[in-house]
């Protein structure tokens, strides 16, 4: 087995172009996905903010305050411009939307009426608009919504009780402010005036130093590319068949299963190397802190590499031709990557998680999330690694049985 492994490793590294592609292609893809997911936000470079043109048709002070407030949101840059110029930018695809403060904004706010505020957008950029809307709504609700309700309450009391003493009214309004802020002891004057008191609390990722997007890019892409690399094991066996060397191996006293184990060991070595290079690249290029939990990282690399290489020999044992290897590997890898979260993070398609559990990608990505994002203890990572080892072991047993049954048909 070791002799077959040594020969396969020698053959693998003798093809310089293939070796380069095996390691370079995932690096290129990781870079692209990291950029797409905003994975560089923790590196020295700043990510580009979304530019949102804003037209203050009324030119009121309250509108200016709100615009300044929105401008302070990380990743959002407000551009004050004329309505027609802004529209042209959207029409030409230079910007996704315009935020318009229409005439009567301040009066409507004081009277507690529906606010004349509008977001005009390019329908083709719905995904970007969705993100913008969620940011705008949360900020505007924090700002305008509270002020509007306070004004309404103020007007209502004055209307019903015109003789109310100003001290009593102030006390009522102070209590209301405390209710809004959710903190009885908080009497921050600035909060009331600017409406910026939006408290956010994250249960996950508070401690983490690495961007979620970067972890998604590295883990997701690396596992997907790993599967494509090990699919070459299946093709390798077909190549041996075509070259007649498989038949010659069977002439020798070597146990046929060892041919498969030798190929699996080659896949395991290449997979471990590939994952190591991917994480080192992420460390040097994007500042991913790979030293967070080295034992867990080593365990996950070994488990992922084992599961992926078992997939490689599974392909080798069920395919009889190059076409079968190509079609089968493409279909299985794309499905596993799609449902397992390699192509898109699972938090944006939660309903898929039910079926994602059958995917090697899912357990691999979740394991790496546990290490880098959730920073969970070794025992938790061990469960995910154990599942990957289990999947790998099951696939290896099935593959060996199938190979023993089919190997003579191959020659």
């Amino acid at each position: 087995m070791i002799k077959i492994y040594k020969k396969d490793i020698k053959l693998f590294f003798s093809d310089k172009k293939a070796v380069l592609l095996t390691f370079l292609l995932p690096i290129v893809l990781i870079t692209l996905f990291a950029l797409a997911y905003g994975g560089m936000e923790n590196s020295d470079r700043e990510s580009k903010p979304i530019l949102l043109p804003v037209c203050n048709l009324e030119d009121s002070d309250i509108a200016k305050t709100i615009i300044a407030d929105l401008d302070s949101v990380k990743g959002l840059k407000m551009e004050i411009m004329k309505l027609e110029d802004a529209r042209q930018k959207v029409i030409r695809g230079k910007r996704a939307a315009i935020l318009i403060f229409h005439q009567g904004f301040e009066d409507s706010l004081n009277l507690g009426k529906t606010l004349p505020i509008e977001l005009q957008y390019d329908q083709a950029r719905e995904m970007e608009i969705g993100i913008l809307q969620s940011v705008l709504i949360s900020k505007l609700m924090g700002n305008i919504g509270k002020s509007g309700i306070q004004k309404k309450v103020n007007n209502y009391i004055l209307d019903k009780y015109p003789d109310i003493q100003p001290e009593v009214l102030n006390t009522i309004m102070d209590d209301l402010e405390n209710d809004f802020s959710g903190n009885e002891n908080s009497k921050n004057e600035n909060n009331f005036q600017t409406g910026m008191a939006l408290k956010t609390t994250s249960l996950v990722g508070e401690k983490q130093e690495s961007a979620l997007g970067l972890i998604q890019a590295v883990a997701g892409t690396a596992i997907m590319m790993l599967l494509f690399s090990v699919a070459g094991l299946g093709a390798g066996l077909i190549e041996e068949k075509e070259a007649g060397t498989l038949k010659k191996l069977l002439y020798s006293p070597v146990n046929p299963s060892y041919i498969l184990y030798g190929k699996m060991m080659t896949g395991l070595t290449v997979s471990i190397l590939q994952l190591l290079i991917m994480f080192l690249f992420a460390f040097f290029a994007f500042g991913l802190n790979i030293s967070i939990d080295i034992p867990s990282l080593i365990l996950m690399i070994l488990a992922t590499a084992f599961a992926c290489s078992s997939f490689g020999i599974f392909l080798a044992s069920v395919s009889n031709s190059r076409q079968q290897v190509q079609s089968l590997s493409t279909i299985i890898i794309l499905i596993m990557s799609a449902i397992g979260g390699s192509m898109m993070p699972l938090f944006i398609m939660p309903e898929i998680i039910k079926i994602a559990v059958v995917s090697v990608n899912y357990w691999g990505i979740q394991g790496f999330y546990d290490i880098f994002w959730r920073q969970l203890p070794f025992t938790t990572v061990l469960i995910k690694a154990g599942i990957l080892f289990g999947i790998g072991l099951l696939m290896t047993i099935i593959s060996v049985q199938l190979f023993r049954k089919n190997v003579l048909k191959l020659v």
Partner: protein, 308 residues
């Protein structure tokens, strides 16, 4: 050394082997001749242990193939018809790898590799990748790779297909040398002159059966073809040949305007043949009587040419 008894093999409902039996004694070169589909490859695949027979027994070097397949494998070297080498590895790397599969000390394999590279005239090119070798050179390494574990028996399946005359001669010389050193060889080929030159005995296989076996002289006697009558004609048409076949008792084949008569009786019946040829409109250019070769023996035994 090798004994094959009543070997049978069916693929679905088609019989590939119908009870093949033959014996190869120690230090003998036994030729296995047969047209495509005769059962030659099936026999080779069974002997090389990659195919299980439905029935029959095989003994190689006193080991039963069914009960002691590993021992059989270890005492056998197999030269497959196709060149089975790793193109991206050098000749020496290939040989060291193939040798390493037989549980032999690395130092012995290394020594054997070096001597085989010298024997096959490839010592100077030992570090070159196989992909840079000519077809003949690859064939030589293909044979060398089957000899690394010093087998007692060598199975050579069409080892000279598609190579240059120089490499072919070298392979003949090496095969003869190895045989002189005590190696028992089963040699399959389409080339009659190879079988005639190398083989002590020949088995002719057709329709999954050995239809005759023995030395070339014994086969001549079996096929009653010690001499061949050949008649060259100026020109011919299918009608004229058909007319002649219908009027003559003797069987003949036609190749390049030459009629070849297999049966020795044709020589004594020559005057009658000439008359019938004239009646069929065939004009004779030349008449020859030659000692029968393996080609005509084969033709007489099977009714077909070996290379169709």
């Amino acid at each position: 050394m090798i004994e094959v008894k009543n070997l049978k093999k069916k693929y679905d409902q088609i019989s590939a082997l119908n009870g093949i039996s033959f014996k190869v004694t120690e230090n003998e070169i036994f030729g296995l001749l047969g047209p495509n589909g005769a059962g030659k490859s099936t026999t080779i695949n069974i002997l090389s242990t990659i195919l299980k027979p439905d029935d029959g027994e095989v003994e190689i070097n006193r080991y039963n193939l069914k009960s002691k397949p590993i021992a059989c494998k270890k005492s056998m070297g197999i030269v497959p018809q196709e060149i089975s080498l790793y193109d991206e590895l050098s000749a020496i790397e290939n040989l060291l790898f193939w040798g390493s599969l037989y549980d032999i000390k690395p130092s012995i394999i290394k020594e054997k590799t070096n001597s085989l590279l010298k024997l096959f005239g490839l010592w100077e090119r030992r570090n070159d990748k196989i992909k840079s070798y000519s077809g003949g050179m690859k064939r030589r390494i293909n044979i060398a790779s089957a000899l690394l574990h010093s087998p007692k028996v060598l199975l050579m399946d069409e080892p000279t297909v598609g190579i240059d005359p120089q490499s072919r001669n070298l392979i003949f010389e090496v095969t003869e040398k190895l045989n002189k050193e005590g190696l028992t060889i089963i040699y399959t080929t389409h080339y009659m002159e190879e079988a005639e030159r190398l083989c002590n005995r020949i088995g002719i296989i057709d329709h999954g059966k050995i239809i005759a076996q023995g030395t070339v002289d014994e086969l001549r006697k079996i096929s009653k073809t010690t001499e061949n009558l050949t008649i060259k004609i100026f020109e011919t048409t299918e009608d004229k040949i058909l007319k002649l076949k219908n009027t003559l008792v003797q069987k003949f084949a036609i190749e390049d305007n030459i009629l070849i008569f297999f049966d020795d009786k044709a020589i004594s019946d020559l005057p009658n043949i000439i008359v019938k040829m004239n009646e069929s409109g065939l004009k004779i250019s030349n008449i020859e009587i030659k000692k029968a070769n393996l080609e005509t023996v084969f033709l007489n035994l099977t009714g077909k040419k070996l290379r169709n």
